[in-house]
């Protein structure tokens, strides 16, 4: 499957900002099961300096500095990505979750994908007794790790309400857990915190999901916005497997990965420091189009224009 993605982020400032310095994790990474054919990031106004590099976890980061005063900053990311993921393994074939926890604690690797990075509390994923207790219900002794994790994913999907107004980017995990509602970011964080509470390596993945559903299927939650899900390390043989608690599905060819980290704080799409500016307004618009697809929908609806241009 090949996708064209357009992701527009617009900051409007009450009074002009004299300078912006920002780091953007918006360009998708090439990864197992995914190849980035082309990608570009365009800023308005034009930055004085702009450089792309790779962060510790292998994500693409563009750091830019804009020194001309501006009341509006528009960041447009466009990319064409080919996704060809293999089927997830049969859950019952994966090792027991206790074994995975033990292997992770004894890891002898500092490589970016080493499970050793992903078993501790993160900035936005603190350990919580209640979240761990919730997760434990899916982890009977000696149960295969992927079977347990998939069960946890389905329980989160069932027990939590999707509600974009319930939380924002900085809502603490405990609050979303109490309210039993939130968005993909909250569900991913809750799943991650629960897994780590049991000593299991869990990661946060940001990305997209196709906008237009397959024919005859319901539209997936998370289209027209950036999406996020969790990944769990299932031992050296199986490595990282991605699970989407918002939709209760294994991540397959409908998902496009942008960045991989311990939680949202590692992959925040835009981080920055500005001088001046007063109140800010932030608008995001995402469009994901499937190019090559048997059930390619006729142009029944016009391409969704980014909301704020």
């Amino acid at each position: 499957m090949i996708y064209d993605v357009k992701h527009v982020t617009t900051y409007s400032h009450e009074t002009p900002v004299s300078s912006t310095r920002c780091a953007m994790r918006l360009l998708p990474r090439s990864d197992a099961g995914q190849t980035v054919i082309r990608s570009a990031l365009e800023l308005t106004p034009k930055p004085e300096t702009s450089a792309e590099s790779t962060d510790f976890f292998g994500n693409r980061v563009v750091e830019a500095r804009i020194a001309t005063p501006h009341a509006k900053l528009r960041i447009v990311m466009t990319a064409r990505v080919e996704v060809r993921r293999s089927e997830p393994p049969a859950p019952e074939l994966t090792p027991t979750w206790e074994q995975v926890a033990r292997t992770a604690a004894g890891s002898d690797s500092l490589a970016p994908d080493s499970p050793a990075h992903f078993i501790f509390a993160g900035r936005q994923t603190p350990m919580s007794d209640s979240v761990t207790a919730y997760a434990r219900k899916s982890f009977a002794p000696d149960r295969p790790v992927l079977e347990s994790a998939a069960d946890l994913m389905r329980r989160i999907h069932k027990d939590f309400t999707y509600d974009p107004d319930a939380t924002d980017a900085s809502t603490p995990l405990a609050e979303a857990f109490e309210a039993k509602s939130g968005v993909c970011q909250d569900f991913a964080h809750i799943m991650i915190a629960g897994l780590r509470g049991l000593g299991l390596p869990a990661a946060y993945v940001s990305g997209y999901i196709r906008t237009i559903p397959h024919e005859g299927q319901p539209r997936l939650e998370g289209a027209d916005a950036s999406h996020a899900w969790a990944a769990i390390w299932c031992g050296p043989e199986f490595g990282w497997l991605h699970l989407d608690p918002t939709n209760a599905i294994f991540v397959g060819n409908d998902h496009i990965v942008v960045a991989f980290g311990r939680d949202y704080a590692d992959v925040s799409p835009v981080d920055g420091v500005i001088r001046g500016g007063g109140k800010q307004d932030l608008q995001v618009a995402v469009e994901v189009k499937a190019l090559e697809s048997a059930e390619k929908p006729a142009r029944s609806e016009p391409p969704v224009e980014p909301k704020l241009i």
Binding site: G222, D224, D271, V273
Partner: protein, 843 residues
């Protein structure tokens, strides 16, 4: 005969005193003590100290101790307890801890070995990673540390070291040997306090200090500074101490250290990254920063790559480090070696990396991320304490630092065991620490108290140098768990007693007070900003007090006042209200306060932002940010001003008393401006202090003139004006008639020879602006200077008879324009730094 008799009685009382101290001293059985050996005999060097004290006489001792207390206050040695807004005076034990040279050199060797070992471990973890790949160190014993700064992996530390300034907390165990209790590598605090302790104590007992041949601290600090300088790319580098700011717990220490070492004290907002290099924003533009002594925790140093919420750091700092353009002591990520998890591996790593045993053992530690160690820990839980493997606090037990196995209740125990089964990686088991005791002085008696000792090590091109002394913390309770400054402990100076008289070079300075370097270098924009505002606030406080005094002088016979006086009073009140010097009337209350209440409020009402007290406090707040640049007496006088103003508010103070207190406060203000004029180093920002005062005075004089010299002015309002601008004598010497508007305006606004006139202030402002450095040397006037030149010309050409209120308003506005232009040009816009909002991942 008489003389001889006196001497022997003195000797008698001296030995009686000594004997009484010793016999009253009862150490804890089974715990080693510094004063008494295992057989209960006093050690020789302690006897020397106590005998010296005993020879002084009770009164003399008390006088010296009292003087020491005043010295601590005067030096501004303070610290902050988290959650408190005020600073506390430093609690210094009256007795030093004594260490013999032999004992100290063992400690020094052990600490130097440990510093080198930790530096090599850091180099391996952030570099090749062999220790982990070979299985000598589990990856999770590293990745669990919040100070494993991942973006630093693969980075070569500029200057070649991850660790340049290290401290070990040590204590004497039950076997009499020294043990390492913890490692400090983030930004070890205490060296500055140790220095202050030395200054106070050596001043309290100069004779004893000399006779006991205590080793000096100055050479260590000189080498420390040389080591920092050697880390830089270029000779004569600019070294900055990066502070989290005045709210930091140890800000006073950071100020002292920056002063003593001659470092530029900077906050994150003072620094800027440009073209891959780090710069200080100064009034003369961006100036290269070569070395950073870091007191901001790693995670807060760069909001772009680390904690995005940080306002303490510098966006882009890690990139500059990556490019080798700035050396940082210690490198971000060095605090990784502070974790207890790592401690359990040190004995093995020492043999592997240095081929040696640890010379100073650390307390036995078991990291429970490994099955065998966890099982052993759980088995011997009753003999151990359980602590966090990576963090100060015990995970899952908010507010607890550690739990002692034998002291847990059943519920706690069950919960802890379950948590350790789930997440053993988060916990360590440690043997229980028992510290030895040293004597402290309590109301004329000696008492044993447990203590721990922090030893400092600095990297130099010649290797590690160890401070011959340290930062000793003494518990205030006999039963010791942990000793931290916020739990009522005190600190003690540490005297390392040299075997021979210290060599010549270190004898040169009479005490450790000799400063090593005294070049504060260029003025950072933030410092200039605070100097300017401190001075504006002081002037505003003074002008407010003048108005209040003027008002009080007219109150004494207010009930009989004729309409002229009443009008003056009304105008004075209006002025105070428009300055925000009195709180706005509460809803439903009488619209106007009675005049006396109003005067009192304008002087000392905390809730009115424009009262003299509020202005004085704002001045003090600015001063606290630039304390390292202020002479000590200025800082003290500002405290006194606060006291004086506070006293005006005392209940039941009568009008004459209020006037008296206002006079006193005004005296303090004149003393301050005198000190600033006479004692303030002219290269260290005096321009900005004077600019602030001149700008504020000129603006306020315009305001007075608009209020009292309008077309409805009366003799009485003009008199008030003369009083406010302190120009009665000038006026009367020139004009025989009573006050009239035009001559008065001439004196107040245009007269270049009257030191309180607007024209006089403007001339000084213009001179300062001409003297300050230009950004570009192209001969074109900078905007702020253009404005001052123009306004100066206008005032020179103006005639008083043509001036009306609207002209004065326009002058006032142009003055404010000059103040704004000064701000735009010279001051950093740190206050306006902000973070971009983060887009949520919604779906």
């Amino acid at each position: 005969m008489a003389a001889k008799g006196q001497t022997s009685s003195e000797a008698g009382s001296r030995s009686r005193r000594l004997a009484a101290w010793l016999s009253g001293y009862q150490p804890v059985p089974g715990v080693p003590d510094e004063l008494l050996d295992a057989n209960g005999r006093p050690r020789a060097h302690w006897v020397t100290l106590l005998d010296g004290l005993a020879s002084m006489g009770d009164e003399d001792i008390e006088h010296r101790f009292a003087a020491a207390g005043r010295r601590i206050n005067d030096m501004g040695v303070t610290y902050r307890v988290p959650g408190e807004s005020g600073e506390r005076a430093w609690p210094l034990s009256r007795l030093p801890l004594l260490l013999t040279e032999a004992e100290w050199s063992d400690i020094a060797e052990g600490v130097a070995q440990r510093a080198e070992l930790l530096d090599r471990i850091l180099a391996d973890i952030y570099g090749e990673g062999r220790l982990i790949a070979d299985g000598a160190l589990p990856a999770a014993a590293v990745t669990g540390s919040p100070d494993f700064i991942r973006p630093m992996r693969g980075v070569k530390p500029p200057g070649g070291r991850w660790l340049r300034f290290y401290a070990a907390d040590i204590g004497r165990g039950p076997d009499g040997k020294w043990w390492v209790l913890g490692d400090r590598a983030q930004a070890p605090s205490g060296a500055g306090y140790a220095l202050q302790n030395r200054l106070v104590l050596s001043g309290t007992f100069p004779g004893l200090y000399r006779d006991m041949k205590a080793r000096r601290l100055a050479p260590f600090f000189r080498e420390f500074r040389e080591g920092l300088a050697a880390a830089a790319e270029r000779a004569d580098p600019r070294i900055c101490l990066l502070t989290p700011g005045p709210w930091s717990e140890t800000y006073a220490e950071q100020v002292a250290l920056a002063r003593y070492l001659g470092l530029l004290l900077v906050e994150g907002g003072d620094l800027a990254v440009s073209d891959g290099r780090l710069f200080v924003r100064t009034i003369a533009g961006l100036k290269r920063a070569d070395v950073i002594l870091r007191r901001v925790d790693s995670d807060w140093t760069d909001p772009l790559e680390l904690n995005a919420a940080s306002h303490l750091g510098v966006a882009g700092l890690l990139n500059v480090i990556r490019q080798g353009a700035v050396a940082v002591a210690n490198m971000p990520g060095a605090a990784l070696v502070e974790s207890r998890a790592l401690m359990s591996f040190l004995p093995v790593l020492a043999r592997r990396l240095t081929g040696e045993q640890l010379k100073l053992p650390n307390i036995a530690t078991w990291w429970c991320g490994q099955d065998i160690e966890r099982a052993e820990t759980l088995e011997s839980l009753d003999d151990l304490s359980i602590a966090g493997a990576f963090r100060e606090n015990l995970p899952g037990f908010p507010g607890k630092q550690a739990l002692v196995g034998a002291e847990m209740d059943a519920a706690q125990r069950a919960r802890l065991v379950a948590a350790m089964q789930d997440r053993g990686v988060d916990y360590v088991g440690q043997e229980i620490v028992k510290l030895s005791t040293m004597p402290v002085w309590t109301e004329g008696k000696l008492q044993p108290r447990p203590f721990s000792l922090r030893i400092f090590a600095a990297a130099t091109p010649q290797g590690w140098r160890i401070m011959p002394g340290g930062f000793c913390r003494v518990s205030d309770q006999l039963d010791v768990r942990a000793v931290s400054m916020d739990s009522g402990a005190q600190s003690a100076d540490v005297w390392v007693l040299a075997d021979r008289t210290p060599d010549h070079a270190t004898l040169l300075p009479p005490s450790d007070g000799g400063r090593i370097v005294r070049v504060l270098g260029l003025l950072p924009s933030r410092a200039a900003d605070n100097l300017f505002w401190m001075s504006r606030y002081l002037e505003r406080a003074e002008d407010t007090l003048r108005v209040v005094r003027c008002l009080c002088n007219r109150l004494t016979d207010a009930h009989t006042a004729d309409s002229g006086d009443r009008q003056t009073i009304t105008r004075l009140e209006r002025l105070l209200a428009s300055w925000g010097a009195v709180p706005p009337p509460a809803r439903g209350a009488a619209a106007v306060l009675p005049t006396t209440a109003m005067a009192r409020a304008a002087a000392c009402e905390e809730k009115a932002y424009g009262s003299a007290l509020s202005n004085a406090r704002n001045a003090r707040r600015c001063a606290s940010i630039i304390r390292e640049r202020l002479p000590q007496d200025i800082w003290q006088l500002m405290g006194r001003l606060d006291d004086r103003l506070d006293r005006i508010g005392a209940r039941g103070a009568s009008e004459p008393e209020i006037i008296e207190h206002i006079e006193r406060a005004l005296h303090t203000l004149s003393a301050l401006s005198g000190l600033i004029g006479e004692n303030f180093n002219r290269v260290a920002g005096w321009n900005f202090l004077d600019l602030g005062r001149r700008v504020e005075r000129a603006i306020n004089t315009c305001r007075f003139a608009r209020q009292f010299c309008d077309t409805d002015a009366t003799i009485e309002t003009l008199d008030a004006m003369l009083e406010l601008i302190d120009s009665q004598i000038t006026y009367r010497s020139r004009y025989l008639v009573g006050a009239a508007v035009a001559p008065l305006l001439d004196i107040a606004i245009l007269d270049q020879f009257n030191p309180r006139s607007v024209a006089f202030q403007l001339a000084r402002i213009d001179e300062h602006l001409a003297a300050l450095p230009a950004l570009v040397d192209d001969g074109v006037l900078e905007p702020q200077r253009k404005l001052s030149v123009r306004l100066r010309g206008k005032l020179a050409a103006e005639a008083a008879t043509n001036l009306d209120v609207s002209d004065i308003l326009s002058i006032e506005q142009r003055l404010m324009g000059i103040a704004d232009a000064i701000g735009d040009r010279y001051f950093s816009d740190n206050a306006r730094r902000n973070s971009l909002d983060r887009p949520a991942e919604l779906a």
